[in-house]
């Protein structure tokens, strides 16, 4: 393929320049060639949300009177904490911001993190960077190209969003700040993940660190928005780049002055990452590498123990996440309910049709616990595929280990781990809710999502059996669609019956809804059937390293 020959050819062309940036243009082309489809999908999916959500909101609030009525009730802690302060809920542009701005900004943050790690630390980990650097490619050429490509995704997505807003005849100033604020968030996370890619030695570590920072910044701005004075967030907002972007207030004041701060963070952060890179060896991280034990402990000699050891960091991170989320949910539940207007249509679309609002809010939190556990389970079981992909499974199966025992160890960690997360997160949600619900009841309500989580595992096992190479991607796509349907199904005007037919939507949303056993049994049976077929196929197929 021409992609393989491009670096050599281009580097010969630029051999005259010997600076640390020589070959950037070639590296950009090379990265684009390997990622254009991924970039195009991210940009298209994010941008197309604008007309979809705009259409649904135009239908929900067709008249100015309807929008004015909404504006009276829009400012609730739930909205503030999750999607930001509704400063312009009386206009369609303002409503668009409430409904989709935070989702787009955070999603673009995730996209930036994954892209930067994929073309940075992950490339280095596999040794491909070494090969490229041995050609006449400047020290910083490849990372700079990486940051440029990831940054261009933000710029293009922001531009598309602005143009679509203009196309929908939204106010010009707001349309441009909408795109710019979302693009600015993406650019900030390009820089943040660039630094994480220098600190960690593995792509997994770099991704985890950057995603943890994204979550931290999200919670900081949630705190700032909850402590708001009217529709002005507290000063805490300035400790989070997401908060900076929010303060651009598109379709409200249309402030441009936070944009230089976001761009400054992007440029300085990338510059710091490049500086850090000169301080370390290729393949090493800034965080030091220590020696380890000379022999395997008894735990490692057991397949289950090995999986636990390999996923130790990830398990601790997810459990910690469940604890923090549970405590956060419980502690804001009462405050949120006290100001929620039961007739608010937005609140209804989220909280559901239950009688008791507090129960509705708790139900939403329980759903979040379920989604969190689902994400954990997919990530944990995807570890099985990476063992196969890397060739490490080959050495294990060359020992007297059956394929069943090996895969079962991974399923066990994902399945039991998610159950622990559900119980832990649920219990803490209840226990910290100042009497809104008991820990035990919330733990049970959370645990009702276990069959839906197992269904995610079933889907992944099925794919690992039949189509191992794209299995992880497909499982994440299924998870993503399930999350969208369960959380935003109402917003996208999906009917109740359709939502009830998706994995997380099918689970009775305790305590707002009545407990029903049937959906849980159905989910469990589907999960079991998929998993059994997947296991059967995995035992019968060829091993497929990358």
């Amino acid at each position: 393929m021409s992609s393989a020959t491009a670096p050599g050819r281009a580097s010969r062309g630029t051999v005259a320049s010997t600076g640390s940036l020589s070959g950037v243009g070639m590296a950009v082309k090379f990265i684009l060639r390997r990622n254009w489809l991924r970039l195009a999908i991210w940009a298209a999916v994010l941008a197309v949300m604008i007309p979809i959500v705009y259409g649904s909101q135009q239908e929900a609030f067709p008249t100015q009177a309807a929008r004015d009525a909404y504006a009276q009730v829009a400012n609730t802690p739930a909205v503030a904490a999750m999607t930001g302060l509704p400063y312009a809920a009386g206009s369609l542009g303002g409503i668009l911001v409430i409904k989709i701005w935070m989702t787009l900004a955070v999603a673009l943050g995730f996209a930036s993190i994954f892209l930067v790690t994929r073309n940075g630390r992950a490339e280095e980990e596999t040794g491909r960077t070494e090969l490229l650097r041995s050609a006449a490619l400047g020290r910083h050429a490849y990372p700079v190209a990486n940051y440029l490509v990831a940054g261009s995704l933000s710029v293009v997505t922001g531009l598309l969003i602005s143009l679509l807003c203009l196309g929908l005849k939204l106010p010009t100033g707001g349309s441009w700040t909408m795109g710019a604020s979302i693009a600015g968030t993406g650019l900030a996370f390009v820089a943040i993940s660039a630094i994480c890619g220098q600190l960690a030695t593995t792509s997994r570590g770099a991704n985890s660190l950057a995603v943890a920072l994204l979550a931290l910044f999200y919670f900081i701005r949630a705190g700032a928005d909850l402590q708001a004075n009217g529709t002005n967030p507290s000063a805490l907002s300035w400790f989070s780049p997401i908060g900076w972007a929010q303060n651009m207030r598109s379709f409200g004041q249309d402030n441009w002055w936070p944009l230089p701060a976001l761009l400054g963070l992007a440029v300085l952060g990338c510059a710091l990452a490049l500086r850090l890179e000169t301080l370390r060896d290729l393949g090493a991280g800034i965080l030091p590498e220590r020696g380890g034990p000379a022999t395997a402990s008894a735990l490692l000699a057991n397949p289950l123990g090995l999986v636990l050891r390999l996923q130790r960091g990830s398990l601790l991170g997810w459990f910690l996440g469940a604890v923090v989320a549970g405590l956060f949910f419980g502690s804001v539940a009462r405050a949120m309910t006290s100001v929620l207007d039961p007739n608010n249509p937005f609140a209804k679309s989220f909280v559901g049709t239950g009688h008791d609002l507090l129960d509705g809010v708790m139900g939403i939190f329980v759903l979040f616990n379920g989604l969190l556990a689902g994400a954990f389970s997919v990530q944990a079981l995807a570890g099985a595929r990476s063992e196969e992909e890397s060739g490490r499974l080959e050495s294990q199966l060359a020992g007297s280990l059956s394929r069943f025992s090996w895969l079962w160890a991974h399923v066990l960690v994902a399945g039991v781990g998610s159950a622990v997360m559900l119980l832990l997160g649920g219990y803490l949600t209840g226990a910290s809710s100042q009497g809104a619900a008991t820990g035990g009841a919330m733990a049970a309500a959370s645990f009702a999502y276990w069959p839906a989580v197992l269904l995610m595992l079933g889907v992944l096992l099925f794919c690992q059996g039949f189509i191992p190479r794209p299995s992880t991607g497909i499982a994440w796509a299924v998870y993503g669609f399930s999350v969208m349907a369960a959380m935003f199904g109402g917003l996208f005007s999906l009917s109740e019956n359709v939502i009830k037919a998706t994995p997380f939507g099918a689970v009775p949303r305790l305590p707002a809804e009545d407990f029903a056993l049937l959906p849980l049994v159905v989910l469990g049976v589907i999960a079991l059937v998929l998993a059994t077929i997947g296991f059967w196929r995995f035992r019968a197929r060829d091993l497929m390293p990358e």
Binding site: E125, T201, T202, G283, E289, G291, G292, P293, A294, T295, A296, S297, L300, A301, N302, L306, R309, L310, S390, G391, R392, E394, S395, Q396, L397, A398, G399, S400, L401, S402, A540, R541, D542, L543
Partner: protein, 318 residues
């Protein structure tokens, strides 16, 4: 297992990946207690064969037996009795080499600690380093120590020395000799002819998924022509008419040619009439045997032709 059993017996093995035929009727036999060399260029199907023997890939057709069992159905039981060193050793980057050795050994049912420590010392490997920091050679040492520290009846080694330095290669050679002395069997896939000639009792050469040459090394040599160089007092041009002389190259009083085993007596008799001053006879090396199947430096001009059928035929006719 009784020593009469063949350690490996593969007959007419076929394996396809999509439309690509990786193996097209491969035969491979290793007697118990024997060290067998397994030669073939990259992509000829050596690793595929070994992966089928390990039950990692499923054969499309053909008969495969290892230590008397079926590599696919009896994989777990068989793997207690074998040890494997892959050509490309993948380790857990955040575990140490010592931990990896422990894990691999435990999967075979435990480790002989004294033996392991001895091997670590001989191979000069630091087991406290994270696998991430290991070079290819060091990763290979991890797999070698784990395999050699076991009491496996059969060792499957897929280019085990491709990352080792010459000193470590010597250690490896010594270790394999010890394994052989203990009566265990080895299948050694390799590109290093000297290593195979030093260590192996039998050799199987494959090309494009088929066996083209197999047997004891000394027996194989007999099948092929010996290269003879002579210095004659008289004219060398008359040699062209001597029956049995092939590939004649003349250089003044010096002549180089090849001669088949069955014609050697007649040729020597004929030579004596031309007053030879000196005579050097070189038996075919393993490299010659190998290269004649791949057109590198053919001893037999017919082998230089790219026709595949001719080679398959040569394999079948052995």
């Amino acid at each position: 297992m009784s020593t009469n059993t063949q350690a490996i017996s593969v007959t007419d093995l076929h394996k396809h990946f999509g439309r690509t035929a990786a193996l097209a009727g491969l035969d491979l036999h290793v007697e118990a207690g024997e060290v067998a060399g397994f030669l073939g260029p990259n992509g000829s199907g050596k690793s595929t064969t070994i992966r089928i023997l390990l039950g990692l890939l499923r054969a499309d057709s053909g008969s495969v037996k290892m230590l008397g069992g079926d590599p696919w159905d009896d994989a777990v039981a068989l793997h207690r009795r074998i040890a494997y060193v892959p050509g490309e050793v993948a380790l857990w980057p955040n575990l140490t080499g010592g931990q990896a050795i422990g894990i691999l050994a435990a999967l075979r049912g435990g480790v002989d600690e004294a033996k392991r420590d001895g091997l670590l010392e001989r191979f000069d490997l630091d087991p406290t380093k994270k696998a991430r920091s290991y070079s290819k050679g060091n990763r290979q040492k991890v797999a070698l120590v784990a395999a050699l520290a076991s009491d496996a009846e059969l060792l499957l080694l897929d280019e085990p020395t491709s990352g080792l330095d010459p000193l470590m290669e010597q250690v490896f050679t010594a270790c394999i000799r010890e394994v052989k002395a203990e009566g265990r069997s080895v299948l050694l896939s390799s590109h290093i002819f000297a290593e195979v000639e030093k260590l192996c009792d039998t050799v199987t050469i494959i090309r494009e998924g088929q066996t083209v040459e197999a047997g004891r090394l000394d027996a194989l040599r007999h099948l092929h022509r010996t290269t003879v160089s002579v210095l004659l007092a008289g004219s060398t041009s008359a040699l062209a008419s001597v029956p049995g002389i092939n590939d004649l190259v003349l250089d003044g009083p010096k002549a180089t040619f090849t001669v088949g085993e069955e014609d050697l007596g007649d040729v020597l008799e004929a030579l004596s009439r031309y007053s030879p001053r000196s005579l050097v006879s070189t038996p075919p090396s393993l490299e010659d045997l190998f290269l004649r199947h791949y057109g590198g430096l053919p001893l037999d001009p017919a082998a230089a032709k790219p026709g595949r059928r001719a080679h398959a035929h040569a394999g079948g006719a052995r």
